[in-house]
């Protein structure tokens, strides 16, 4: 092949032109950056829409399942968690979950303060059983308080079951002295039951009235005993012709936990929307 200055110049021009074109394409506006926010949103849009749709659907479904729609309020985290944080609903869906599991309303608990629980003798309504249990506890009749609460628990009332454990502790302390390793194992196992059935807010009891129980309890005892309690709960429900309580996770576990920790930290001026059941 014969060397030609003309061909070499042409080749050099082509190479330079190609390089410039590539450089231009790289810095040009028509190229999407690797991680573009617009790009991501665009791709995820259908999923975001679907999730929003599902949430709206779930909320609508939850709303339909409730007799009265919950009232929406915006409070600081401190205000919202000032009382019993187990009674807070962070979404309509959670409010419906609380209804499903016979969580008491503020009015119910107020009623328990003044009512004579013997007036409710013979009731099979889990809401009334919870009120009766609370009233017995208030009157210092711990045996009946425990029994009424656990009875409500067989209907799926998870709050009542937790309160049954609180009454049980009071009963054991009244009869057998301060909580020891043995009773701590039993009480801790009681708390395992609502936890296993999906109520993460049991954590509140573990941090307050049962705070010392966790360290005292033997893990082996808790394991054996919680299994027995779950079996007994199902058996009790079966005897009463009810469906045995099954796992039904309470919504907003992660959000509740974040806010709960925030409220405990003392820095809790963030605003949060809660849903009060009517």
């Amino acid at each position: 092949m014969k060397f030609s200055w003309k061909a070499a110049s042409l080749l050099a021009v082509l190479i330079c032109g190609g390089g410039l074109w590539l450089l231009d394409s790289y810095v040009g506006e028509d190229v999407d950056p690797l991680q573009s926010v617009d790009h991501e949103d665009h791709l995820l849009q259908p999923y975001s829409d679907a999730m929003a749709g599902m949430k709206a659907h779930r909320d609508a479904e939850a709303m339909a399942s409730m007799k009265k729609p919950p009232q929406q309020r915006t409070l600081t985290v401190r205000e919202a968690f000032a009382g019993d944080p187990r009674l807070i609903a962070l979404s309509v869906e959670e409010a419906a979950w609380m209804d499903r599991h016979h969580y008491p309303k503020a009015a119910d608990l107020a009623e328990a303060e003044s009512i004579d629980p013997r007036q409710l003798a013979g009731t099979r309504d889990p809401r009334l059983l919870t009120i009766a249990g609370s009233a017995f506890k208030k009157r210092g009749e711990y045996m009946l308080a425990m029994s009424q609460h656990f009875d409500a628990g067989a209907h799926g009332a998870l709050y009542a079951y937790q309160q049954g454990a609180v009454a049980e502790r009071a009963l054991y302390e009244e009869r057998f002295g301060p909580t020891n390793r043995d009773s701590a194992g039993v009480l801790r196992a009681r708390l395992e039951v609502p936890l296993a059935l999906g109520d993460h807010t049991v954590q509140y009891l573990m941090d307050t009235v049962m705070a010392d129980v966790d360290a005292m309890a033997s893990p082996k005892q808790v394991q054996i005993q919680s299994r027995e309690f779950l079996r007994a709960l199902a058996e009790d429900a079966r005897l009463q012709g009810l469906a045995p309580p099954s796992v039904d996770p309470r919504p907003n576990a992660a959000q509740w936990n974040d806010l709960y920790q925030l409220s405990r930290s003392g820095v809790a001026d963030q605003l949060v929307t809660i849903y009060e059941r009517q």
Partner: protein, 275 residues
């Protein structure tokens, strides 16, 4: 409660404890036998330490401890066996026939032994009157409603005759809470059996009355009958020795074993051995 028996204090050896554990596995062990307390010189440190923990965790009365410290004896009753002296009255002393820490085997300063003991890291389970108490793995307390008595299932729902049974059972496990409290009563060390049984009856009746409500006039007689039957059955002198008494004794022994185990672990933690 069985009559107290007293044996010369010579301290259990590891060898015998191992044998005993093997015997227990076959149901043949009796830690209250004199041979259980035979001694081998080389294992005195651990045996003395074991005495200390067992006696101290049992919460022996001061008088018994003081007597034991002088006499150097091991004692067994229906609720268990223990050995003492638990703590040396004169720590530097030694000497005497079982009259202090290390006295019998001639070792001198107990504080040395205190640091030499190996049972926190190499502890045998401690045999308990008629059944083993493994300090590392004590039996756990389980409350399980009315459960079984001598293998016979005991219903924790209301039992009524014939056609009424369906309605009675629909109230669910009516007596479960009362039976749970009864289990806890038996399983708490030092509780009186008859008081536990009597409380069961009262709890069952009170609970039944609340749960039945308007149905109490119709079904209340069965509640009272069942509660009384349970309490009487548990205390009936003809069958008590074969049914509820062994259950109560076993629960109490298990409770004592758990107490021992907890104190043992605390003690080892205190010494820095962990457990």
């Amino acid at each position: 409660m069985a009559e107290a028996r007293t044996f010369p204090d010579t301290g259990p050896t590891k060898h015998l404890l191992r044998s005993l554990r093997r015997a227990e596995a076959t149901g043949a062990g009796n830690p209250c036998s004199p041979r259980f307390h035979s001694r081998r010189r080389s294992s005195m440190n651990s045996s003395r330490a074991l005495k200390l923990v067992v006696a101290s965790v049992l919460g022996l009365g001061g008088g018994a401890v003081a007597d034991g410290a002088i006499a150097g004896t091991s004692t067994c009753t229906g609720s268990g066996c223990w050995v003492y002296p638990p703590f040396l009255p004169n720590p530097g002393g030694g000497g005497g026939v079982g009259g202090g820490w290390g006295g019998g085997d001639g070792s001198s300063d107990p504080r040395d032994e205190y640091h030499k003991i190996s049972w926190c890291t190499d502890a045998p389970g401690y045999a308990w009157d008629g059944h083993g108490c493994d300090l590392y793995n004590p039996p756990v307390l389980t409350v399980n409603g009315c459960g079984t008595a001598g293998g016979v299932p005991v219903p924790d729902f209301l039992v009524a005759p014939g056609a009424l049974q369906g309605g009675a059972a629909a109230f669910g496990a009516m007596f479960k809470a009362a039976c749970d409290a009864h289990d806890m009563c038996y399983g708490t060390h030092g509780n009186d059996k008859h008081q536990c049984d009597e409380r069961l009856r009262q709890d069952m009746i009170a609970d039944g009355q609340q749960k039945l409500g308007g149905a109490f006039p119709a079904l209340g007689v069965f509640v009272i009958g069942q509660a009384t039957a349970y309490a009487r059955f548990l205390q009936w002198e003809w069958i008590e020795p074969w049914t509820s008494q062994p259950a109560y004794d076993r629960s109490q022994m298990d409770a004592a074993c758990r107490t021992s185990s907890a104190a043992f672990k605390n003690y080892c933690d205190h010494l820095g051995f962990g457990s």
